[in-house]
């Protein structure tokens, strides 16, 4: 009887040990201490919305910002980016108020006034469209390392621009760049990571 008890105790101890190792391994590998690094680009800017009001990035301190550069005569990348903004807001559900999606138009000649606002709000009324004069836009583009080329006056109008999405934290710091391959889930995950970081402060 004693030997049976000993075998039972031995098996129990081994099983407990294995379960312990499995739990530790799961915790260690599935919950890495992920921190998005602060990227050395970006910063505050001041541009205008479609009502002509001056808007600064700092206005959204305490919330996260998804930022992109685009224009309304863009058939492929910009509608795709804005549809992705819409999907991210939808995926965030009740937490969507954490996020402010912004598109900066690099084509102020054609996107002045209501045009830009109507365009971005079609995808979701919470999206903000901003633009400014060309020198101000050039300064913002430099700040974010965005590449923009507009055709010269008199030539057929063409615009080419960087297609990255910038995720900006509640302190106005750029924390992640997404290319157009990034899924909605990846963007949502990064936003939730920033939210956990903010909650721990």
């Amino acid at each position: 009887m004693t030997s049976v008890f000993r075998i039972f105790a031995f098996v129990l101890a081994i099983t407990t040990g294995l379960v312990g190792v499995a739990v530790w391994a799961k915790k260690a590998y599935s919950e890495p201490a992920e921190v998005l690094p602060v990227l050395r680009l970006g910063g505050n800017f001041e541009l205008q919305d479609d009502a002509g009001r001056s808007r600064q990035l700092s206005e959204w301190r305490g919330r996260f910002v998804l930022l992109s550069f685009g224009f309304t005569h863009c058939p492929d990348v910009c509608p795709m980016t804005l549809a992705r903004y819409r999907a991210v807001l939808k995926a965030l559900g009740k937490e969507a108020n954490l996020l402010q999606p912004i598109m900066i138009s690099v084509d102020p000649a054609r996107d002045a006034g209501k045009v830009l606002g109507d365009y971005v709000r079609y995808f979701d009324p919470r999206i903000v469209g901003l633009t400014g004069d060309l020198p101000t836009l050039a300064a913002v583009q430099r700040l974010y390392g965005a590449q923009v080329v507009l055709s010269a006056p008199g030539e057929p109008v063409s615009v080419s621009h960087s297609d990255y999405l910038y995720l900006i934290d509640g302190q106005g710091q750029t924390r992640k760049l997404f290319d157009q391959q990034a899924s909605v889930a990846m963007i949502v995950e990064a936003i939730q990571l920033l939210q956990r970081e903010a909650d721990e402060r």
Binding site: P75, P79, M80, R86, Y119, Y122, A146, V148, S160, S162
Partner: protein, 145 residues
């Protein structure tokens, strides 16, 4: 969504086509769709998969749509950190090859839209080929993210 160039032609026309230089060329257009754009957008991008099932190359020499002032083939490429778009004139459809017009790669750009495009709408696009055929592509407007 599959469209065959020979559709709607009589058998005599079909026979003439068979006897012509590009007899074996038949272009299939599949999976045609247009990315949703806001109603005030003057442009939209159409994507389609074009397959030349014939034995000789064909070329698109003209494009049109009753819903747009102009239609152009545009190629996108990521260069110098930005997306650049260039127009391709007389795009080739090589024999036996499937050419995919896909997001971030190539599209048929509908310019000077004559009416707002709504999700679910079917938009006809006509491709005139060097072989003399005219291909009707029906692209459906789709939301995407």
């Amino acid at each position: 969504m599959t469209v065959c160039v020979n559709r709607g032609r009589g058998w005599i026309a079909s026979l003439l086509l068979v006897l012509s230089a590009n007899a074996s060329a038949a272009i299939l257009a599949e999976q045609a769709w247009i990315r949703e754009v806001p109603p005030q957008s003057p442009v939209a991008a159409a994507f389609v998969v074009l397959t030349n099932t014939g034995k000789s190359a064909d070329y698109i020499v003209a494009m049109s749509s009753p819903m747009a002032g102009r239609v152009e083939w545009h190629d996108m490429r990521h260069e110098h950190g930005r997306m650049e778009m260039t127009q391709r004139l007389r795009p080739e459809l090589p024999a036996g090859i499937t050419t995919q017009l896909a997001p971030m790669a190539s599209h048929l750009m509908l310019l000077e839209l004559k009416q707002p495009l709504r999700v679910g709408m079917k938009v006809p696009i006509f491709l005139t080929l060097a072989s003399g055929k005219k291909l009707r592509v029906t692209a459906i407007v789709r939301a995407s993210d």
